[in-house]
């Protein structure tokens, strides 16, 4: 059934009455996700696509008992929405919102350490288990059920790769976008650990980016994994010292370039995909065995 989400997932949508929240709630529902409620302060009593709306997470908890939450709240209110979910005891929190201040996220992550919640994101596309459940904004039609676990720091690039895999008949167990910001709740290693012990996953695709050392930090774990990993790192052509898009992708001198990451992976014996097409090629080879 993949990782993180399954048939028992009962989802709460924070920010459900907003443009994105409402649209994506519909998409998730269409995908088969069990959305039990939504939260928008002041909108208690409304219904969106048949989903009851509450003023607060606590009221939603009391009435509908969700165990997961997805955040579509605008950046300046998003950290507070995450605090609300943590305090509510929600187990899995997926923050889609892009543009949350990094100081807010440092506070949230320190707060998480003493809680029972896990945070995916922010600035991420979420989690999809084809044939099962979806939390987030990955387009519905691109997925195909299968045995490849995908974990990525990117958003649209993740769609691109999933689409390509599915188009080539390669299905996914679960696809997870962990988010591209500097400070995020769940790391590559956290997800790799889950895939390693997931019976439905046989191979893993890891999509990394320039900036930081999140990719390198996962090498030690990957070396001891039983399951093969194919890594694809974008930003080979990025000039050092420039911020490429989101805050996560700052190249600090001497570390964080795509080439350094790729070299470190190769030294550790991890298969590198040179392009999305190359990933498909190498996956096909592995899956044939």
């Amino acid at each position: 059934m993949g990782i993180l989400i399954d048939n028992h997932t009962r989802l709460l949508v924070q920010g459900i009455t907003g443009r994105e929240g409402s649209l994506q709630a519909k998409q998730m529902k269409d995908f088969g996700t069990n959305i039990v409620g939504g939260v928008t302060p002041g909108k208690d009593g409304q219904e969106i696509h048949g989903i009851p709306v509450f003023d607060s997470v606590k009221e939603a908890m009391d009435d509908t008992n969700p165990n997961a939450s997805v955040i579509f709240v605008p950046p300046r209110f998003a950290a507070d929405a995450i605090f609300e979910s943590i305090d509510g005891g929600i187990e899995l929190i997926v923050a889609i919102t892009e543009g949350i201040p990094v100081h807010d996220m440092m506070r949230v992550c320190a707060y998480l350490e003493n809680s029972s919640s896990q945070l995916i994101g922010p600035n991420c596309p979420g989690i999809t288990t084809p044939g099962g459940s979806k939390i987030g904004i990955m387009p519905n039609p691109i997925h195909l059920a299968g045995n490849v676990g995908l974990v990525s720091r990117s958003g649209t690039l993740t769609y691109e790769i999933i689409d390509l895999l599915s188009g080539n008949g390669i299905g996914q167990s679960t696809s997870v976008g962990i988010g591209g910001d500097q400070v995020i709740g769940t790391s590559f290693v956290d997800i790799l650990e889950l895939f390693e012990s997931d019976t439905k996953t046989d191979v893993i695709v890891l999509v990394g980016e320039i900036g930081g050392t999140a990719e390198e930090d996962s090498i030690d774990f990957m070396k001891q994994m039983r399951k093969p990993v194919i890594a694809y790192i974008v930003g080979v052509s990025a000039p050092p010292g420039k911020t490429m898009g989101h805050a996560g992708a700052i190249v600090s001198t001497g570390s964080g370039t795509a080439l350094e990451k790729i070299k470190a992976f190769e030294r550790a014996g991890i298969t590198i995909g040179r392009s999305p097409k190359d990933i498909v090629l190498k996956l096909t080879n592995i899956l044939k065995k």
């Binding site: 950046p75 691109i142 689409d163 974008v234 989101h246």
Partner: protein, 368 residues
């Protein structure tokens, strides 16, 4: 967003971090009067680009005339393509000892980190590479801020004799960092002078995501980067001739990588973000096509939050303003509607990033 030195020093002053006495001027003629009051002075070009010292943007002067001459010269300069419009004139303070003090974010630890070294005044990244043991690092808990004992430990390591003042500077610099949503707050060098401890330089980089609650008045300059940021997008200028408009940084980088693989050179990188709307795409097209180096543009959209028909409509709206050829790749949400709309206008649409990269490299070559 990088602040100018004079902006950062203004903030330092407000927090009572000692900085040299000085004034900001835009006309060289104002230098004389200031230098008369301050004595020996340092004249510093106000640009946010690094390496202004090496570029000749910093000069010392003794005497008012000397100061005016130097100010005149520096106000005429350009540093990394940016004209110097303002200079800071400060009283010269002879450093007896130059230290480094900086606060930034450690992504892996997910907390702020204070870095300090007795080897300041130079390229700290070089020291970090060559003698990492010379840099003290200390993580700060984001919910408590810097503990007194931490500030004291760092102060003792930097200069035990002047530790009380340095302790104070560390506590205040952390408040500056915290209050202003800094990604970096740095003093290099933090100098010991005959007049005591003083911040001879000041660097602050603000989290762009927090600009809604921070106010700094002056922006770096009205650049394409700035125009993009104002519209909630992200623009990076590069050296080639292919303009790139993509939704999502990861996909954008993948696109750039492929353009390079096919032998092309990107002219820029415009990330319209995952949820770009019609208006943003229009702005993106206008910004990218205003870059004179651009000979061809690729638009690569994988619709999720973004709807492909909205993107197509935006392209159609501004197509008449764009003088270079365009390759459009649309996938995901409302892909068919979008492609149909563009085909009516005879625009090339392709279905994969690879194809888009290949096509645009060809077009770029033929338009050189």
């Amino acid at each position: 967003m990088k602040l100018y030195e004079h902006q950062a020093k203004g903030i330092f002053s407000k927090y009572h971090i000692p900085v040299p006495e000085g004034s900001l001027i835009t006309k060289a003629g104002d230098a004389m009067e200031i230098a008369e009051k301050l004595g020996d002075v340092v004249i510093k070009a106000q640009v946010t680009a690094g390496g202004r010292g090496k570029a000749g943007g910093i000069a010392t002067a003794s005497g008012p005339e000397d100061a005016e001459t130097a100010a005149q010269r520096i106000l005429g300069m350009s540093i990394k393509g940016l004209p110097v419009k303002k200079v800071l004139i400060e009283q010269y303070r002879k450093p007896q000892k130059e230290m480094y003090l900086g606060i930034t974010i450690d992504r892996k630890a997910r907390r702020p980190i204070i870095m300090a070294s007795t080897q300041g005044g130079v390229d700290i990244e070089e020291i970090a590479r060559s003698s990492p043991e010379k840099i003290t690092r200390m993580h700060i808990h984001p919910l408590t801020g810097v503990h007194d004992y931490q500030a004291r430990m760092i102060a003792y390591q930097l200069d035990k004799e002047n530790s009380l003042t340095i302790y104070d500077v560390i506590k205040k610099l952390y408040r500056v960092f915290d209050d202003h949503d800094c990604i970096l707050a740095e003093i290099n060098p933090l100098a010991l002078t005959a007049q005591g401890i003083v911040a001879l330089d000041a660097k602050m980089v603000i989290d762009d995501n927090a600009l809604f609650r921070q106010e700094f008045g002056e922006e770096e300059s009205v650049s394409l980067e700035y125009l993009a940021k104002k519209s909630g997008m992200s623009y990076v200028g590069l050296d080639g001739n292919i303009g790139c408009i993509v939704n999502g940084a990861g996909l954008a980088m993948a696109t750039l990588d492929m353009i390079k693989q096919y032998g092309g050179e990107p002219a820029d990188f415009m990330d319209v973000r995952a949820g770009a709307n019609e208006e943003q795409v229009r702005t993106a097209l206008r910004i990218v096509s205003s870059n004179v180096n651009v000979k061809a543009i690729v638009v690569n959209i994988f619709g999720g939050l973004t709807k492909c028909d909205e993107v197509a409509r935006a392209i159609v709206d501004v197509i008449s303003e764009i003088k270079v050829p365009l390759v459009v790749r649309l996938a995901g949400t409302n892909e068919q509607e979008g492609r149909k709309m563009l085909e009516k206008y005879g625009l090339i649409t392709v279905s994969s990033t690879e194809e888009a990269a290949m096509e645009v490299v060809k077009l770029g070559d033929s338009h050189r």
